[in-house]
Amino acid sequence: MNLQSIPLEYYLSLSAIMFTIGTVGVLTRRNAIIIFMCIEMMLNAVNLTLVSFSAFMGDSAGQMFVFFVMAVAAAEAAVGLAIVLALFRVKQTVYVDEINIMKW
């Protein structure tokens, strides 16, 4: 029975393209919240790789990893955005170029 007609390579390529878009976003944007969203996108690209390998190999380890990545992403969202809030209280800005208190 043929379950699937998309080869694994296409999923991997799509995931690589998404990861790169996220990387370029992290490197070019200066709004800390958008950088945070780009990191979420990179995590999702990796999740797609894990799920596609899990499905093509018939092994559930990949999908378990996706769960743990999602739990870590949720914790990261709560703590990361709290850091952005705390930073905004001190510096009144979320643009990462203007936050240079650790620069000497």
Binding site: A75, A78, A82
Partner: protein, 119 residues
């Protein structure tokens, strides 16, 4: 096997098209009136609008949303446990009890810290 999802795909497509078509049809079929600055301004019972509608939210909303995420994850992990409850038996119950216990400690911390107090 993706054919199993065809009803779902149709539902999503119909839902999206319905929303989109309503916006487009309202624009096409609706009466075209001249748009002046006064007509486009926000209606506030005849008063002049005082401030922008984009007001800053209070940090209390953030607290609720943040705790929602963390306890949402807890619920997500409870789904597969609930489905396989009979198969997993006592081991699963103990595992889930330990998981809940640690998160309950977090919940007690939240209450003690007064993070959900509204005033």
């Amino acid at each position: 096997m993706i054919d199993l999802y065809i009803p779902l795909i149709i539902m999503v497509a119909v839902g999206g098209l319905f929303g989109l078509s309503n916006v487009i049809l309202a624009e096409v079929l609706g009466p075209r009136r001249t748009k002046t600055k006064t007509k486009l301004s926000i209606y506030e019972c005849g008063m002049e609008p005082i401030t922008s509608a984009r007001e800053r939210f209070s940090v209390k909303f953030y607290m609720v949303a943040m705790l929602f995420i963390l306890f949402d994850i807890e619920i997500v992990f409870m789904y597969p446990w609930a489905v396989q409850f009979k198969v997993l038996g006592t081991t699963g119950l103990i595992a889930m009890g330990l998981f809940m216990l640690l998160l309950f400690a977090g919940f007690i911390y939240v209450i003690k810290k007064g993070a959900l107090k509204w005033d």
